[in-house]
């Protein structure tokens, strides 16, 4: 009987006007290769976020979708929200 636990980013979504990158991380526990449980944890990478701690795949996606125009637009939106 071999129990294993692995953590994988099993879903990466790009949503909304500012291309928020939503990352779902699954923790999968298996016994002899048969999945016993799967739990999720999530975080979101916004255009102005630091991505150095992200996986290579998430970084590549962020670099592709978070163009300077998107970053500028998102920052402008945040600046406007601060005035609410």
């Amino acid at each position: 009987m071999a129990l294993t636990k692995e953590t994988i980013e099993d879903k990466i979504e790009i949503v909304g006007e500012y291309k928020a990158v939503q990352v779902r991380t699954a923790t999968v526990v298996k016994e002899d290769g048969v999945e016993l449980s799967r739990s999720f944890s999530r975080h979101v990478v916004q255009p102005t976020d630091d991505i150095t701690g992200e996986s290579a795949e998430v970084q590549a996606i962020c670099n592709a979708v978070h163009t300077q125009a998107i970053k500028d637009a998102y920052q402008a939106m945040l600046d406007a929200q601060e005035e609410v």
């Binding site: 949503v15 909304g16 006007e17 500012y18 928020a20 939503q22 779902r24 739990s39 999720f40 944890s41 999530r42 975080h43 979101v44 916004q46 102005t48 976020d49 630091d50 998102y74 939106m77 945040l78 929200q81 601060e82 609410v84």
Partner: protein, 254 residues
């Protein structure tokens, strides 16, 4: 030709490499095989509307046909819309595994439930809405969420956060929400916030998420006639003893 058998054994075929039994109905729709008990029909297999294969009972007026999707039908293979239950109160199926969603109460896109998920997220106390200086320690730092369609319910539970290194005069934020808010909706929620000065105003803070974001700030109504709000600052909270606890619901971006 008709074959009639009497006795304890029916028809048994034992053929290797070809169909064991072929039943052919020419031209018209209808039953291809009829099943009886004590001479009374209890079920049928047949064809409807040209090539829709069906299996149906006789008395209950229920069955299924197969036309690229599985369809509820009556005893003659005809579609029966909104008339047949799947399971019943004393005979339930166990789990249902779907790669898609379900339509509840209607067949429009507004009736489509396509996602359910539970999980965790990590609240981060910060002095900016993005990046900034963050709390260095917590006694409890826990976030949970439930996603039902595009509705998100989050629970945030952080206690005794240490604000050392954070800018006291900056607003205080929680970053790290698990889903971005929709572009045209906000989130507000009452907050359990202990051992804070609330900027000198009475009343507790309200968590506020603006559209398209994954952080919240904390606002306090300042009791003027215009109902303006005060943005809670880092320095309003007492380092290592203040808490933020709340549950909030919002609509996420698609």
């Amino acid at each position: 030709m008709a074959i009639t058998l009497n006795g304890s054994t029916g028809i048994t075929t034992d053929i290797d490499g070809d169909e064991s039994l072929t039943l052919n109905r020419d031209t018209s729709d209808g039953d291809i095989a009829v099943f009886q008990k004590d001479g009374s029909t209890v079920g049928k297999i047949g064809v409807e509307a040209g090539d829709n294969f069906y299996i149906a009972d006789n008395a209950g007026n229920s069955g299924l046909n197969f036309k690229g999707f599985v369809n509820p039908v009556g005893s003659n293979g005809e579609t029966r819309d909104a008339a047949i239950d799947l399971g019943n109160s004393g005979g339930r199926f166990k789990d249902l595994y779907l790669s898609g969603g379900v339509y509840v109460g209607g067949t429009g896109s507004a009736n489509y439930l396509d996602d359910y998920e539970e999980g965790t997220w990590t609240p981060t106390i910060s002095d900016a809405s993005s990046g900034g200086n963050t709390a260095t320690a917590y006694s409890v730092r826990s976030g949970k969420y439930v996603k039902v369609g595009n509705q998100i319910t989050v629970n945030c539970y952080v206690t005794n956060f240490n604000t050392t290194g954070m800018t006291s005069s900056n607003g205080i934020y929680i970053q790290g929400f698990p889903f971005a808010t929709d572009s045209s909706t906000q989130m507000t929620a009452a907050v359990y916030n202990t051992r804070s000065s609330n900027g000198g105003y009475t009343g507790g803070p309200i968590a506020y998420m603006s559209p398209s974001t994954t952080f919240c700030s904390f606002r306090i109504f300042i009791n003027d006639k215009a109902q303006n709000t005060y943005l809670m600052q880092v320095g309003d909270n007492t380092s290592t003893v203040s808490d933020f606890i709340f549950t909030a619901t919002y609509i996420c971006a698609n």
